[in-house]
Amino acid sequence: MGENGKLGYGRYRVLMVSDFFYPNFGGVENHIYYLSQCLLQRGHKVVVATHAYGRRSGVRYMTNGLKVYYIPRLPFIQQNVLPTLSGSLPIIRTILVREGITLVHGHQAFSTLCHESLLHARTMGLRVVFTDHSLYGFADLGSIHMNKVLQFTLADVHQAICVSHTSKENTVLRSGLNPEKVFVIPNAVDTAMFRPDPEESPSIKEEIIIVVISRLVYRKGADLLVEVIPEVCRLYPEVRFIVGGDGPKRVRLEEMREKHGLQDRVDMLGAVPHADVRSVLVRGHIFLNSSLTEAFCIAILEAASCGLLTVSTRVGGVPEVLPNDMIVLAPPVPAEMVVAIGHAIQLLPQVDPFSMHNRMINLYSWMDVAKRTEVVYENALSSEDDDLLLRLSRYYACGPWAGKLFCLVAVVNYIVWCFLEWQQVSSSFYYSPLSFKFS
């Protein structure tokens, strides 16, 4: 802590690492970008590392001098690079030493680059923070393996961040991490971009428009939509739907539209680019989210920031996201969802988009997220340093077979690092300048 309440201004040199970053659009990507921008504004040094996207490889600079390393590794499956354990150590080590990084912040449990970079950072004695963005199950084969990998990474992490309390419980159960080490810091929304515009939407006395924007997949509850939309259209003749998004379930929605003759009442927009999401949202009065599982739903925040009343399924971390007067929750059962939509329609006259938007400015801001993340960084940096033997003892405790395997992986990684140190000593690297100001 500095003087005058300045919290660690300009103290940290952070590497954000994940397989998911721009030019991909999604929750994790946005989170990393906005968090990095806010930390840069607070004077810290932030560098992002991700894998190459097509021909976008090498070093790029984004807004405000955010340096992004597009490591030349090709995505292997679902946007992740091929896991090579110590194979990525040389390049990650080069990045860490050149930029003078003190703390590595990995995002998303499903990212292989993140897990590997956190391992390398620990081998090199740096501080490590991990953020988990999704909920996972326990029972199927994929989840069991993913959870074991997560247990390996989190056995040795200094602090962890989850985006909601439900996500914290899920992460703690999956990885066996001490709950005291897990901080709950939510995502936020760019309220400057998502502003309401009542001119765009018709008056609620004439028509009520319900907007749905999501990927049309099973996980996002597209099947619930197929059951709910015809029923709502039948009960409330003034309601129209706008459905944005694409996916395997789009065919079912088109069929539903034809079967009930709702072509004039349900607009299917197809895939909506992220830049156009706001223009679609402001055309509506109610936002409908039918996901079957969500750790934290940023779409709801964007809708609330545009002044829409939200109707959502009560799953995962959704009940924690908005106050009760801005959201109507229902179990993921079609009949109950129809009742909830009816309730929301009754509440609509009392909803003022601009006051909702102003409330959202106070409830969520990326700068607040950055400040709370700094508190986590401070905790991570002030925890005591661990040598290899202490780390190995923690890995060993992970399980009768897995513990030994993890120790082996950690030792091999250490040996490779020692070899790299001998081959090219860290002090002989060319260091990048500490910060890059455009002024």
Binding site: V182, V315, D368
Partner: protein
Amino acid sequence: MPCLGFSLRIFRVYVKMGATMAERCSQFEDPRIECTKRGQQVGWKKVVYGGMQCGYADNYMDSSFLEAMVMNANVVKRDTATVMVDSVGIASHVSVVALVATVWTHALNGALPASALLVLDALVLLLGFFALLLTVKCVFSVPFVVQIGRNFTLFVSAIYVLAPVFQTLTRSISSDSIWALTVSLLVVHLFCHDYTFSTSPSTMAASLSKDFPSKKTSKVQETTLSANVSMNASIVASVLIASRLPTHLYVFALMLFSLEFFLLFPLVTHCIRQRSVNLHLGFSCTLIVFTMGLIFPLSRLAFVLFITVIVFITLVCPYWLIRIQEYKFEINGPWDEAKLCFDLD
């Protein structure tokens, strides 16, 4: 040029000022101190909006942490006796396969003449038919008997017509390959077989007779992929062995015998089980003992192997299952993906 640079600098200053004002000059403040200015909050709430909650760190948990977690909600409690009784069903099927293999060996050695085999086929068929008669609780009418007779005639005549084809099917394949293939196919058949059919209580018997068109089964038993694979494996194994025999009457007799046991026998077991569990138990034990008696004169090694397998299935496996059931740890909670309560069409 200089005025351009100057105006650019002024512009940047304004942008910076605007940004600072938008943040309400709180850019450098500690969120832990900042929240005291926002007013007092009553207690900690399990929500994530509104920034850091005053007086509580972000890693604070109260007693509601993991409160909604439910452990082992869907786990079936098992007791050793029930599991052992159910495992007898598996053991009886293994002994059926051993029985069929024994008859195959005798036929291939030439110890069983074709006529004897035909008589055996007819005997087994009649026995099976009587077993069905005794155990299925439905009224027998003429259309029902006619339908069964029609199905049976089709079945037998199809095998008789195809017998010459089977006879020359594997003439160019060496015997070693045949034995190896047959053994692997039988192993696949045993592993993939649908044992739940013969042990689960269902109204499948009602679908046997078409006299009850209005009675719909409450739960339709769908055949899974592995059940189909196992049936096909057993049929192919029968064809391979039958094709080794000299005359096509012999081939027909052996094929009929094998298919009776592989295709029709599970149905009989199922109906017996439906009727009474004790009857099923007695029937299975008799079958196992009978098979043991058949194998003993044939080969001592096979006999010992068979006994080991039966003991393993009926005694060791149930005990093992009960032991490891203690380690079952099923976790459910609000983080689970919701299940749809309706069927997708």
